[in-house]
Symmetry: D2
Subunit: 194 residues, 4 copies
Amino acid sequence: MRDELFARGSVPMTKEEVRAVSLSKLELERSAVLWDVGAGTGSVSVEAACLLKNLGGGHVYAIEREEEGIRLIQENCDRFVPGWEGFHLVKGQAPQVLEELPAPSHVFIGGSGGRLMEILGAALAKNPQARIVVNSVTVETTALCLEAVSHFSFTWYEAVQVAVTRLNKVGRYHMQQSQNPVWVITLQKELPES
Amino acid sequence: MRDELFARGSVPMTKEEVRAVSLSKLELERSAVLWDVGAGTGSVSVEAACLLKNLGGGHVYAIEREEEGIRLIQENCDRFVPGWEGFHLVKGQAPQVLEELPAPSHVFIGGSGGRLMEILGAALAKNPQARIVVNSVTVETTALCLEAVSHFSFTWYEAVQVAVTRLNKVGRYHMQQSQNPVWVITLQKELPES
Amino acid sequence: MRDELFARGSVPMTKEEVRAVSLSKLELERSAVLWDVGAGTGSVSVEAACLLKNLGGGHVYAIEREEEGIRLIQENCDRFVPGWEGFHLVKGQAPQVLEELPAPSHVFIGGSGGRLMEILGAALAKNPQARIVVNSVTVETTALCLEAVSHFSFTWYEAVQVAVTRLNKVGRYHMQQSQNPVWVITLQKELPES
Amino acid sequence: MRDELFARGSVPMTKEEVRAVSLSKLELERSAVLWDVGAGTGSVSVEAACLLKNLGGGHVYAIEREEEGIRLIQENCDRFVPGWEGFHLVKGQAPQVLEELPAPSHVFIGGSGGRLMEILGAALAKNPQARIVVNSVTVETTALCLEAVSHFSFTWYEAVQVAVTRLNKVGRYHMQQSQNPVWVITLQKELPES
């Protein structure tokens, strides 16, 4: 979904190409229960909700601590999936607020507020088979995800950096303009039996 | 969908992150008629077919001239969307073979065999509102897409380069290994009335 | 040389990493006569002048059409190579102003004002063995350089894109921030006899 | 200096663009004493030696533990700076072998064999003003360099990732082919008085 369709305010938003890759890595299915931790504008929550609505099921929990984020998520939800009963807006701070939520099958962590390990622990405590995708824009968070692999004994993980360069027309020319690269890290502790 | 799930042979395949971005740019809907020109292993066709099957409609025309590609596409179709009546495997050379196909609402061009302008022309002749996504790995094809914008009077277009770097574990370390960057170019001549 | 050492004003400047690569591709020697076409702030001219001064010879012609550029180049020249007789500041428009200059052994083209082919022609008319390095930030200029290869029968050429991502400290974290990628294209028509 | 000019064998070599940036970050001067730790093929040592020879002074210590590296470094030294008395080939393992060397003004660490912190400590023990440049191709080494900043109280540091994409001609087209990105990290504990 195109970035310009979302209400954004001044909140940082996962860019559409990184969002597409992140959602692809999540591998959502009809029965999914997705936690979107640090939901920001809700762009990931809302695009996931559109997918799940098409699949005919699922739940999205958009978790956000900031007032402006809450307002934007509600607005974007109303714009794209009005009245869809699978959408749940949760105001509060992770990891504390996660305690009261139902166990996730999928977790997206766009922003961890420096509490990544606790958030991973809270998700795995609810469901050790949860499929987790983290977006990282810092060396420290990427390194921490790799430490988490051994700390939590994830059996499957993957890390890809997505660097997007956009062509912008300036006069007769198309200039290359870079977006900041984002690491998309996928973690899974136990693979579901198939 | 993960690359390793597909039958691949020795045919070049759109990598999963680039495929996710390209499919996102296509914006497929339930009523979509997708041409996948130069379908290769059929990975784009098959992932599009999965999306459309979930949406409850649509048609995919996987167009490929090479024998090995045809075999792989059939195998991947049987693996992921067995029996889905929306999947059509078309052996032949673009743009000639496109004549006999129904008008596309969406076109993906992964490989043009040096005939990009004719393929664009053939698609637009059938439907001037077709939404077209091209993958380019060369400077010449990217430049040609930009020339096509004025030649065909596309009213909306976008070009993004997606560069993916993957972490590979070597001993105790994670090395950064790059995939070749791919330009994802989206073209639309007439926007449908909304 | 570090970017922050230069007087810059509001003129775009070749970033230090791209400047280092570009100067490396030029392969300046003691007897070099360098044209820096579209010299901007003069950062390439001045760093080349420092190299040549250390080598004990050479000439740099910094060619710039804008008043502000001329002022900045003079300031940077005075700062780094004061009194060095090899530095020549040339106000005027390429390719016309190139007519009156001595034949170059090396040419750097940071900005061509849409006149790239004429500038290449002017340089080669003076010296068909000139080693030429072009910086391009647009698809069109990169494609034009590749066309120039056959148009001028360059026997040796190379094109590399340099994409620099910088770590910026934000709180306890280091964020990845991208600079726009630059193509560094090296062209040589006739290799000097060795 | 072009990569193809060096004797290489099967030893990994710093690519020419990354070498140009790394040497630029080192800021060698006439009086420099450079340690090249994990010298590999000696490409950095030899290009530094060429620079210093032109400046009329300086010393390069190429430190390497592998037999094949030692042989290649000697061959490259003989090829580019034959008879230059500033070149010193040191066979041995860092950090132990560093003990016996003269204090460095500049240090390049292309490979640390997992002993980065000890190597930094050994260099700073000899000269706390040494300017140090590290090349890293792993997340762990990059993160370790950032930890070193606080551990050793470096007052100035910088980290840039250099990602090079090369155009390769295939038929009538130029394909974009990526090299793996390299982090170039510059560290300085005490700036010399000026």
